[in-house]
Symmetry: C2
Subunit: 316 residues, 2 copies
């Protein structure tokens, strides 16, 4: 028996019913009320449903399908993407590599569920290279990460002396293959060979590489950290993440010339606490540094993103 009493409704189920069954069973009730009901199902994940009156102004949900259109932003908002095709979806021994096509943003590279970059996002690459204010001609550049090849592709156009890119995810040939085939608007032909006249790609963990360079006294004009976003969590158990981040920063400063610049992405502008914690770390490096930040609109992110420039304070 199911009786509506004031504002609660008691259900008694003849058998165990899961959420999906219940939602299907409800369709007729909402239809009786003249509401358009639509439900999007993730297998084993949950349901998103809209029930809209005639005067409602919400779009109906796009039902089912192999392609997930509903994602969270970094600051935890729900947004729908215009994904219309799964271009590439492979499990390598290391990770899941997905390239999805967005009608407006082009192909989007997603590693283990983490959005890396879309073909529309030259703004990201420009920002992490210093927003067009730097002269890379004849310079020594170190890129940490940068798997999609966008940064490498843009810098080699600017006649640098040498660009070294260290990307552990390239241990996975399938990432290289996926990018050079489907993210070509971003990486150009730079991933067709991992070595060129003015660049080399090292398939290694960046920590030992940085340690080696530091020991050898090797120095760069620019270090670009495109490894990962600033950790979102601020709980104590995440200390090790901050330790790791600081280790990379310290090592990067060690291989950076005294008048060199370090560029990195931060996080979405709304995660102010995580950004403050990151800036705190910058005050705890082995050498004193200054920094500036810039807020950039990266088209496919659907949220504003913070980028940092860090440099060594002038010696007294």
């Amino acid at each position: 028996m199911a009786a509506a009493r004031h504002s609660t409704l008691d259900f008694m189920l003849g058998a165990k019913a899961d959420g999906e069954t219940i939602l299907k069973g409800l369709q007729s009730i909402f239809q009786e009320e003249g509401m358009t009901e639509s439900v999007h199902t993730w297998q084993d994940h949950g349901y998103l449903a809209t029930y809209i009156n005639k005067n409602g102004r919400l779009p109906p949900l796009v039902r089912g399908g192999a392609i997930d259109r509903y994602w969270p932003t970094a600051d935890g908002r729900l947004v729908e993407y215009d994904i219309d095709e799964v271009v590439y979806d492979e499990d390598s021994p290391y990770q899941n590599i997905k390239i999805l096509h967005s009608k407006q943003f082009g192909n989007i590279l997603i590693l283990n569920g983490d959005v890396n970059l879309a073909e529309s996002d030259l703004a990201y690459t420009r920002a992490i290279m210093g927003s067009g204010k730097e002269d890379y001609t004849g310079k020594d550049v170190l890129i940490l990460g940068g798997g999609d090849g966008g940064i490498l592709c843009e810098i080699v156009k600017l006649k640098p002396k040498m660009v070294t890119m260290v990307e552990i995810s390239f241990i996975d040939q399938m990432v290289i293959d996926g990018c050079k085939k489907y993210m070509r608007k971003t990486c150009g032909d730079v991933l067709d060979n991992l070595k060129g006249d003015c660049y080399q790609v090292l398939i290694e963990d960046c920590i030992p590489v940085l340690k080696r360079y530091a020991k050898e006294g090797r120095e760069f004009d620019y270090v670009i950290n495109d490894l990962t976003a600033v950790p979102i969590s601020t709980s104590p158990e995440e200390d090790s993440t901050w330790e790791f981040l600081r280790l990379i920063l310290d090592l990067s400063m060690k291989v950076l010339k005294q008048d060199g610049k370090y560029f990195t992405q931060g996080n979405c502008v709304n995660l102010t606490e995580a950004l403050s914690l990151y800036e705190e770390q910058l005050g705890r490096l082995y050498c004193p540094v200054d920094f500036s930040k810039e807020i950039i609109c990266v088209p496919s992110y659907l949220e504003l993103w913070v980028f940092y420039t860090v440099w060594k304070k002038a010696k007294p």
Copy 2:
């Protein structure tokens, strides 16, 4: 009695239950399944609900509240905005004027439910002025619409000869008041007076003004149409909208110098049919024109937007 049979569920209600009552009644069932259930209600509009398992990755919906965070994009996708404050909400005799605050985009002007512009959206203003490639020094400029004051504010900085802005919505003093108080990052001090050394704001319907100028033989170097988006609907009853759009275009061409430029926004890049129809109209004007288009990322729109430049073909 409510019995689960395979994949459907039959409900019998003891009394008429509305959607909200049903959704509330369902909470315990979803909780039993270990699902987090959250519902967002619009009064008389409908419901948006998520039911998320522990391994789900969707953010919970923000419940209730006076501020609606869930909006459709122009291409009909569901997106959540980080609205945290209603800054201004007044009904004038002409329209509803709302200014909402977004944590990342700043204040957003909304007239009768239509998003006009956010303080973050200088990219919109730059694009509709020709993306920084034009020299406005000593030029005669006509702005149609442009209520938020952004275009006027940016052009007067560039030492034009005279800018005339024709904005009927300024018949509504409350729009001017709202903008000059809460959209100051966009309009600067340009709306404090409706007349300055090199600009004037006419509170009139632009059609009679254009007709008058055409009759007088008055000509401008630039005409900037910031009136409204290209109509989304492509049904026959919308013919009158296209007629209206063509009337404005024809009149604008009449007051445009032979080597002048006409700038306007188009629509979101995904509405390809509406954009094609607009381009068709450009082939049906009284004089032959050429056009180019540019795709711009306007931060608060959460979708890419098309802007047009139109100019008269050289006389043979």
